[in-house]
Amino acid sequence: MDLVYTPEQQAFRAEVRAWMEAHVPKEPLVTLECREGYDQHVAWERTLASGNWGMVTWPEAYGGRGLDLIQWLIFEEEYFRAGGPNRANQNGIFLLGPTIMEFGTEEQKARFLPPMARGEVIWAQAWSEPGAGSDMAAIQSKAVRDGDHYVITGQKTWSSRAAFADWGFGIFRTDPDSKRHKGLTFILFDLNSPGITRRPIRQLHGDTGFAELFFDEVRVPVENCLAGEGEGWNVAMATAGFERGLMLRSPGRFQATAKRLVDLYRAHEAEASPAAREAVLQAWMQTQAYAYNTYAVASKIMAGGKIGAEASLNKIFWSELDRMMHRTAMQILGAHAELKRFGNGQINQWLEGYIFSLSGPIYAGSNEVQRNIIAERLLGLPRVGAG
C-alpha cells in the first residue's frame, strides 16, 4: 500500500491542470440533451482531442495517450476540478472503445477508433427495447443475413445521445429461432443509414437527448458485426461491465459535486437542517470512499487482476450517492430549488443534477438488477425464488 504519487504522476497532474485551466470553458455549456448544447459539447470533444486529451487510456496507435489507470484517475480528478463538461463521447470512450479493442479485428480498430478519439464520430448506444429494459435478453429486433449484409428491422429505445449522434451500436437477434441470451449479435451502424428513423424522446427535464430508433430493413455490412455472429450477449455483457465498472463514473465527478455541496451548505449553514449537515458530511465521506475503492480497483487491474461482480457494488454506491447529494442540495436550496434559473439568470445546476441523478439508479442496469447480482454472485444466495 503506497498512497503517494510519484514525481512523474505529480508532473502529469500539473500538466493536466495547466491545460484544463487554459481550455475548460468558463461558462457552463448548455445541456447536452438539446441541439445547441450537443453541438457545444461536440466542439469541446474536438478541443480536447486537439490537446490529445480525448481518450487518455487508449493506446497511442488509436489516438490515445496510453495512460495507465492511475494516470487516468489523476486526469479525471483534474478534469472535474476544472469543471470540465460532461462527455458527449462517453459511449465511445468508456463503452464501445474498450469493446472494440477487446473484440474487434485489426481492421475494425483502425476504422472506428481514431475518428472516435478525434471526436469526429459520436456514438449512441442502442441496448434497450420497449419490452427489454432491465430484461435485456428479451430483445426482439432482428438482423437477417442477406449476402454480405444484415437487414435490421425492429425498434430500440432510450438510446442515449441517439437524437444527435452519428453512429450507434447494439445487439440484435440474428438467429430468428433463438431465445433469450442466445442468437444475438453485436452490430455497429451508421445512424444516417436509409431505413432508420429517430424519434427523440422528451426527457423528464423537457429536453431530448435520447431517442427511439426505428429500423425498417436497414442494410448494414457484415463487417460491422463485432466478434462472431451469435456472440452478442457476451460482448454486450463485457461492454455493460465497462459501463458499470470502473470507468463510467470516475470519482472526481462526485468529489467535485461534494465540494460544491459543502460550499452550498456553508452559504446556508445558519438555516439548514441537521439532516442536511449529516448528509453533507456523508457526501465527503462517501465520495472519498468511492475514490479509494476506485484506486484500489485500478491498482488491482494494473497488476493483472479483473473486476467482476464488484462492479455492481460500485454502480449502486455512486448512483445512490449522487442522488443523495443532489437531493440534499435541493433541500438546502429550499424555495429556490424549483427555479430553472435563479433570479440572476444563473442556471440551477442542482435542479438539473437532481433530475439527472434520478436516472442513475435506473440506467446501466437498474439497481434492483445490481442488488440481485450482488446477492447471487457475490454472496451466493439462491437464484430461484418466489415473491
Binding site: 427489454a132 424522446i201 438555516e271 442536511a276 433541500q331 424549483e338 427555479l339 433570479g343 434520478l358
Partner: protein, 310 residues
C-alpha cells in the same frame, strides 16, 4: 374526541375527486402544458363547484366552511395535480383576509372573478399573479416574482404551509397509485415488475410514509382552525412529513417506472415536479424543522403521552 371526517366532509371530498378525475385527467395536463397552462373553463368549473368560495363566509356568497374541509380539498387538488391556482387564492388568501377583517374582495373571489396569490417573505414567488416571470421546474406553475416584499405574518405562512402539506399528501397518493398501476402492467423477466418483492416492498414503504403523513395534516388543519397555541408546530409537522413522503414516493415511483419514468411521456413527471415545488414553498424543510426543534428540544411545548393533543 372523534378523529374522523364527517360524512358531509367525505362526500364533498369525493365529489371533488370525481369531478377532477373526470375533467382534469393527465390528457388535460398535457394539453394545458402545450397551450399555456390556464383554461378559463376549468376555473369556471371549480367556481361552479363552489370551491373558490369554500372558505368565504356565507354572507359574502361563499360556503363558509373551515380549514379541515379546505385541507381535504387541497389534497384532492394535489391528487389531480390541478394546474389552476385554486389553493393559493381560495384556501390561503381567503382565510387570511377573513382573519384580517379585509372582506372587500371576498365576493369577487367566491364568484371566481378574482384570484389573489399572496407573497410572503419566506415565499417571494407563487404561481400566477403580477410580477416578473420565473421559470419553475413545474411546467404548470406560472411563477412570478412579486415586485413588493411579501407579508411576514406567521398565520399566512401557516395557511400556505398547511395547504401545501395537504396537496403533497394528495400528490404522493397519486404517484404511488401511478407506480402501482405501471408495475401491474409492465412485464420484465416474464412477469409484471410489481410481482418482484423488491419493488413491492419499496412501494409498501411509500404507503407507510404517506399514510402516517395524512393524520398529521388533518390534525394540523384542525389545530389551525381552532387557533390553539401549538398550531404552528403541528403545521410544521404536517409540512415536513408530507414533503418527505412525497419526495420518497417520487423517487420510488420513477424507479418503478424505470427508463419510462425518465421521460416526459409518462404522466408521473407532472406530479413529481409539483412535489418538488411545494417541498420548498411556504417554508422549506429546514425552516419547519427548526420550528419543531424549538418546541420539542427547546421545550416551549409540552410533550409526552398525555400531550397527544397539546
Amino acid at each position: 374526541m372523534d378523529f374522523r371526517f364527517t360524512d358531509d366532509q367525505l362526500t364533498l371530498a369525493e365529489s371533488v375527486r370525481d369531478y377532477l378525475a373526470g375533467t382534469h385527467g393527465p390528457e388535460v395536463l398535457r394539453r394545458l402544458d402545450a397551450e399555456g397552462n390556464r383554461d378559463p373553463a376549468i376555473w369556471q368549473g371549480l367556481t361552479e363547484m363552489g370551491l373558490t368560495g369554500l372558505l368565504v363566509p356565507e354572507e359574502h356568497g361563499g360556503l363558509g366552511l373551515g380549514l379541515v374541509e379546505a385541507a381535504l380539498i387541497a389534497a384532492e387538488c394535489g391528487r389531480a395535480c390541478l394546474a389552476e391556482p385554486l389553493v393559493d387564492t381560495a384556501f390561503v388568501a381567503v382565510p387570511w383576509l377573513v382573519r384580517n377583517g379585509d372582506l372587500a374582495d371576498l365576493g369577487a373571489i367566491a364568484a371566481g372573478e378574482r384570484q389573489m396569490p399572496l407573497p410572503h417573505v419566506l415565499n417571494p414567488w407563487v404561481a400566477d399573479g403580477e410580477g416578473s416571470a420565473l421559470e419553475s421546474v413545474d411546467p404548470l406553475r406560472n411563477l412570478v416574482m412579486f415586485p413588493a416584499a411579501g407579508s411576514a405574518d406567521p398565520y399566512l405562512l401557516d395557511l400556505g404551509a398547511l395547504m401545501s402539506a395537504a396537496q403533497l399528501v394528495g400528490l404522493a397518493d397519486a404517484m404511488l397509485h401511478q407506480a402501482v398501476e405501471y408495475a401491474k402492467i409492465r412485464t420484465q423477466f416474464g412477469q409484471p415488475v410489481g410481482a418482484f418483492q423488491a419493488l413491492k416492498h419499496q412501494l409498501a414503504s411509500c404507503a407507510v410514509a404517506v399514510e402516517f403523513a395524512k393524520p398529521a395534516v388533518w390534525r394540523a388543519a384542525e389545530a389551525l382552525q381552532d387557533g390553539g397555541e401549538s398550531a404552528s408546530v403541528h403545521v410544521s409537522h404536517a409540512k415536513v412529513a408530507a414533503s418527505d413522503a412525497a419526495v420518497l414516493t417520487a423517487e420510488t415511483a420513477i424507479q418503478v417506472h424505470g427508463a419510462m419514468g425518465y421521460t416526459y411521456e409518462v404522466d408521473l413527471h407532472f406530479w413529481m415536479k409539483r412535489s418538488w415545488a411545494l417541498n420548498g414553498a411556504w417554508g422549506d424543510r429546514a425552516w419547519h424543522l427548526k420550528r419543531i426543534d424549538q418546541a420539542v428540544i427547546g421545550g416551549t411545548m409540552p410533550i409526552g403521552p398525555e400531550h397527544t393533543f397539546a
